[in-house]
Symmetry: C2
Subunit: 363 residues, 2 copies
DNA sequence: CAACGTCGTGGGAGCGATCCCACGAGGTAT
DNA sequence: ATACCTCGTGGGATCGCTCCCACGACGTTG
């Protein structure tokens, strides 16, 4: 039932290997009647060519490796990675590639990982990482493996091709929005220091404050770790301050879950007592009430663009530098208090990067 | 910098392909001095054998495919899958295999998926699925691909080897615990109907009620979908009942997040107004207060056992049937009200499957 | 009707490893 | 000294495909 080779199929069909191969690969110069007969035999025997043999001569596997920052935290903890992967998967599948996610890279030593890459199991790799300490990019380069990265470190600008958002600008827009709503004491929840975007978003926060002439207050910056638990803990500390903040910008949406809990446990209300703007626009945040005002990252599109870059690189041997920065959007809902407090403000639609949430979420 | 073959290394080292191959594979009969020299050359040139060529003759890839129910919902939505995968990954890595997760199977038609399996890219597959509609298991069998499944459908008992928990018994223990605490009106939140464990857990609920002589009330059974949102919605309906429940058993922990929100929004308290027992014991539920009483599934161990079964199957050609049912534990914390209400009750330690949460969570 | 393309087909070479066997050097037992 | 093993080494065969080229049949053109 197994183990059939192209030779067997050829014998059964009474043709040569070459002809079967042509049928298999959809090549021309096969009589239609022969093609049909061979195809039927292939189907009925459930034959599929052995990948290794094909790869050996073609030097292609049509497999794409996906690498995420490898801890359960990121991988399964934050749905934006799933969204990015979804975009990648769509493009790969459509162009005849199969994406495969590296699991448990932490269980593997560097040498093993390197051999895996050099072994040419994969035609290329899609790397999602904003992690500074992540050696993946360096190893990919060392192994001569084509890759495109989602996320970027301007201080270590070695990625030939990457896709990212402008985290500084996005954070600035978020905080400017809070400022426009009249807030002066605005807290900020950072992500992990190892992630590049953490610093970029902090920088955006600083720029917005500076532009409005609001002094930067160290006490209002919380050292979060992307999890709801850290949002919860820091919000408690913020609310205990002698002069607590009236607004808060969180570097991701997940932490907001903890923020809201802490606020409500004190009998306070969002947005009246604390206005909140998040970052990511997770679908899952529909569980947060009031509905979250947040910065939408075009996750699916980032994944798609990255995959397109990689496949173009593989198929047309495009090796020029490509840096794609996609726009983010401020999605205004309820948690910032815009609708309640500020009918007098100019509608945010004036900004190219802001939108009221009357639009539907992309499916 | 690239594209070196074993032949090149042999030439550089002044030895034959065979010798290089022996060094590569740690085989005996190589003079130590030669071995060292060859190894050094391999390292300095960053040579790694091309997987396809090796596979062709060895008929092994040392790659293990991982298949999860392929929607973002499961994959990234519920951390238990990450835990199971972690266990799998550990065992695989330790035994020299690399696990790779199938991404985006929904973007792929069945024929493509089948060819992927028949192409022998993977030595074997680990399948996590309690999904009745999932065709994966059938396709794996059809493709002659060795696999071990985590999860099991007794009504379609075709998996040669699987690992699971006794969902009926586990749910029964959970509900019996609530009954022992004096509850008579106990609601139950189901998962999706397509998942086998949904029905098993409902059955456990029924058995516990029946054993206590409590009539089954259709109105107390909610048709959840594993998400917090569904927990929220159903809890609202339960609390609106003329005779609302005093306790609730949720088929997973994620839904409990919504349950608790609904309770608290009405100014009610857990466990005083609604006692809750969950299922899974997610690490992430530390964000739920009061701390959640729940059924712990030994996720990491399930993954490890499944991987061990598969690798034994591959390496020793073990093909006998293996059905592993691992024990669950009732972890008693606060949300069931045990500590508060029932100092008079016999300590749950009497039960082999219950434990107070004074133990630490496994790391 | 000869010359020449095109189409359909088959067979040999080759991809880059591993594996098996042959063979010489050296040591030990006879 | 001869026979015999073991060890270290090299080279040919092989895995299952794809690719290239050769070749015959046929149709078109001059």
């Amino acid at each position: 039932m197994s183990q059939l080779t192209i030779e067997d199929i050829a014998r059964i069909a009474g043709v040569s290997r070459s002809t079967v191969s042509r049928v298999l690969n959809g090549q021309p110069n096969v009589r239609p009647s022969v093609r049909d007969r061979v195809q039927e035999i292939i189907n009925s025997y459930g034959y599929a060519p052995q990948a290794a043999a094909r790869q050996l001569v073609m030097r292609k596997t049509r497999l794409i490796g996906l690498i995420l920052p490898d801890n359960a935290h990121h991988l399964f903890g934050n749905p934006i990675f799933a969204e990015i992967a979804r975009g990648m998967s769509q493009v790969c599948a459509q162009r005849g590639y199969t994406p495969m996610l590296f699991i448990g890279r932490q269980d593997m030593d560097e040498a093993t990982f390197f051999s895996l890459l050099r072994g040419r199991h994969f035609d290329g790799v899609l790397l999602i990482s904003s992690d500074r300490q992540d050696r993946s990019a360096a190893m990919l380069r060392e192994a001569g493996m084509p890759y495109v990265r989602v996320g970027h470190d301007p201080e270590d600008d070695q990625d030939l091709q990457y896709v990212d958002v402008d985290n500084v600008a996005a954070a600035r827009v978020a905080v400017e929005h809070l400022i426009a709503l009249g807030h002066r004491r605005i807290a900020m929840l950072k992500g992990l220091a190892k992630d590049v975007c953490t610093h970029a978003r902090l920088e955006g926060y600083r720029q917005a404050l500076a532009a409005a002439g609001i002094p930067f207050d160290e006490a209002l910056v919380g050292d979060g770790d992307w999890t709801p638990a850290s949002g919860y803990a820091w919000t408690q500390r913020f609310l205990d301050l002698p002069e607590p903040p009236t607004a808060l910008f969180s570097s991701n949406d997940m932490m907001v879950a903890g923020v809201v809990r802490a606020v409500q446990e004190r009998g306070l209300k969002v947005p009246d007592d604390l206005a909140i703007v998040g970052f990511d626009d997770l679908l899952q945040t529909t569980m947060i009430f009031p509905e979250l005002t947040t910065i939408r990252q075009p996750c699916v599109e980032m994944g798609m663009r990255a995959a397109e870059l990689l496949l173009d690189q593989l198929e047309h041997n495009r090796r020029e530098r490509a840096q794609i920065i996609l726009p983010t959007t401020l999605i205004i809902r309820e948690s910032c208090g815009y609708r309640r407090r500020s009918a007098h403000l100019s509608p945010p639609a004036e900004s190219a990067t802001a939108a009221l949430d009357d639009e539907q979420r992309a499916s």
